[in-house]
């Protein structure tokens, strides 16, 4: 397409075309080699720490004694097994799973009706909601934890006593990408048109929401849930500073007593997080939803 355009605009140069590709392919090969070298360097930077972590976690040979001939000896998953069956880790894992579920449910309960009503009835509110999504970047966990200590700790200590007091805050930080995912889902199905069509055929509001809109928003909800799960499974600052035993904070404690098992556990959690995020990306792409996982 582009060469055609050139040929039309500059017909006089058409005869020099056969010579150009030959000369350019030499230079192109060099640039392409540089590009691939750069990509390989970046890939190494991302892969090597993971391999180092896996080796430390699953090979029971200290680094100081590691020689090429010992590369394949002493591998065993026992560290991970010990860590996973540790009662405190098990309890923390259950807690974190609970936090994930509650944060997802709370978020969807608050945001699904809000995003639907905003889209079909009051689209003038959309810019405000979108601007709101920057708030968690302005007030991150490390800043909000001071405010929570200054307010709830003094006025409602009973609230902070339970580990599940983390739920509203986790839901808060998950709101930006949850709202973006839901909104993208509504845009993609032309929710306003569907709403008006269903309305004109006499459907009640309940029918529209439960039989028309919600079934079409499943992909958005799965994506939002996956992102929330990854966020909750990785959040450390807030839980640690409020002295709550979640999986990330217990992982740090456990690692002090059992470095090998601790690393195996961390790798395990990291793989889980990556899988959950991978599911998100796949869901979004299959539906053609344009959602930034960064929540911006």
């Amino acid at each position: 397409m582009s060469t055609e355009a050139v040929a039309v605009l500059a017909p006089g140069q058409a005869d020099s075309v056969p010579a150009t590709p030959v000369r350019r392919s030499g230079r192109a090969r060099v640039t392409s080699a540089i590009k691939w070298a750069f990509l390989i360097l970046v890939a190494l930077y991302f892969v090597v720490p993971m391999l180092a972590m896996a080796r430390f976690a699953f090979q029971n040979v200290p680094t100081a004694l590691l020689t090429p001939d010992k590369l394949f000896t002493g591998w065993s998953p026992s560290g991970l097994w010990t860590a996973l069956t540790d009662p405190q880790i098990l309890a923390a894992g259950r807690t974190s799973l609970g936090l994930v579920v509650f944060a997802i449910v709370l978020n969807l309960v608050l945001l699904v009706p809000l995003s639907i009503v905003t889209e079909v009835r009051s689209p003038q509110f959309r810019p405000y909601l979108t601007a709101f999504t920057l708030l968690p970047w302005v007030i991150p966990p490390i800043a909000l934890v001071v405010g929570v200590a200054a307010t709830f700790r003094a006025t409602a200590p009973w609230f902070l006593a339970s580990v599940f007091s983390l739920v509203p805050f986790y839901a808060l930080w998950a709101m930006p990408f949850t709202y973006r995912a839901l909104d993208a889902g509504l845009q993609a199905i032309n929710a306003r048109t569907l709403y008006e069509a269903a309305r004109s055929m006499g459907a009640s509001l309940g029918t529209i929401i439960f039989r028309v809109l919600l079934p079409n928003m499943r992909a958005s909800m799965v994506a939002a849930a996956g992102l929330t799960a990854a966020m909750v499974l990785g959040e450390f600052a807030f839980a640690s500073l409020l002295l709550k035993a979640t999986l990330p904070t217990e992982m740090v404690n456990y690692q002090r007593g059992d470095p090998r098992g601790g690393l195996a556990l961390a790798l395990f959690v990291m793989v889980l997080t990556a899988l959950s995020l991978g599911l998100v990306v796949r869901t979004l792409r299959r539906r053609g939803l344009n959602v930034q996982t960064t929540g911006l």
């Binding site: 355009a5 200290p62 302005v138 990854a230 690393l263 911006l296």
Partner: protein, 286 residues
């Protein structure tokens, strides 16, 4: 605002009210209390706490945090842009673009505890890369790269900074239309001239905005820094110290004042970022 209370908008109100109450109670209220307390140390209006929050060790904390965040933002930003440009120019393996896209979405969220552990196993005292390089005569310690030092933290932070920059830059880089380059070439511009007068001016707002986002991202990173060096003089770690230490009278206000400065810094960065993003969209959205 008046329209909010009309009959057909009552439904919107029913749905917005719980959301607003939720955000007000758990986000706005604690934040306002912190800002109020920072401005009224000891009960009366004054800038005493705000000034102390920027002096002595806390001043060092801000300088270190800003230096660390700026360094990782510039390096991570540059590599992220180069990565986006490289991926755009390489058409061939079709899986490359989508794979890197997915991987970045994953890696940009992989901060925290596991990441710190991974780098301890790589460039820590017993790290595999430390030992490998030692065998060929390169001492990482001597070069000042250990996961607890400044450059060590930069290397670790790049792990989530590069993918984040890639995600932020990719739309702008894709928006750089091939027809512009062809048009420039037809009019006789060299590739260098094209980049100087078209490519770089169009990408600059996006690049600066992305780097500001990376700056904010690493300024507030806590878990990685805490696991690697809990005693380090970085703002998030000092907040922890003030929050958990035996609070002497007045120290509480100091913590509030530090948070007030942090919020001011983040707010400014993100406002500038939003303005830059708007400028980017003018050219690259279609």
């Amino acid at each position: 605002m008046h329209s909010l209370f009309r009959r057909e908008n009552r439904l919107s109100l029913i749905v917005i009210a719980p959301f607003a109450a939720f955000v007000g109670l758990f986000l706005v209220y604690p934040t306002l209390v912190v800002l109020y307390k920072a401005l009224t140390p000891g009960g009366s209006l004054g800038t005493d706490a705000l000034q102390r929050a920027l002096s002595g060790t806390y001043r060092d904390g801000f300088i270190n945090s800003i230096a660390l965040s700026a360094t990782s933002a510039v390096i991570g930003g540059t590599i992220g842009i180069l990565l986006a440009l490289t991926i755009k120019s390489l058409q061939r393996p079709k899986w490359l673009h989508s794979t890197l896209d997915s991987w970045s979405a994953v890696a940009s969220q992989l901060g925290g505890v596991p990441l710190a552990f991974a780098f301890i196993a790589t460039i820590g005292a017993q790290g595999i890369l430390t030992k490998l390089l030692m065998n060929i005569g390169v001492d990482l310690r001597e070069m000042g790269v250990s996961p607890t030092g400044f450059w060590g933290l930069v290397v670790v932070y790049l792990y989530f900074q590069i993918p984040l920059m890639f995600l932020v830059m990719m739309p702008a880089v894709v928006g750089l239309k091939d027809t512009w380059r062809e048009a420039a070439a037809i009019m006789g511009a060299s590739p260098a001239r094209y980049w100087r007068t078209v490519g770089i001016p169009i990408l600059t707002p996006a690049a600066l905005g992305g780097m500001l986002l990376l700056f904010v991202n690493s300024f507030t990173a806590y878990a990685t820094a805490y696991v690697l060096n809990p005693g380090g003089a970085l703002v998030p770690l000092q907040i922890r110290f003030l929050l958990q230490g035996n609070v002497i009278t007045g120290e509480e206000d100091l913590g509030n004042a530090i948070v007030a400065w942090v919020i001011a810094l983040l707010l400014t960065s993100l406002l500038i970022m939003t303005l830059l993003q708007r400028r980017t969209l003018k050219w690259t959205s279609s």
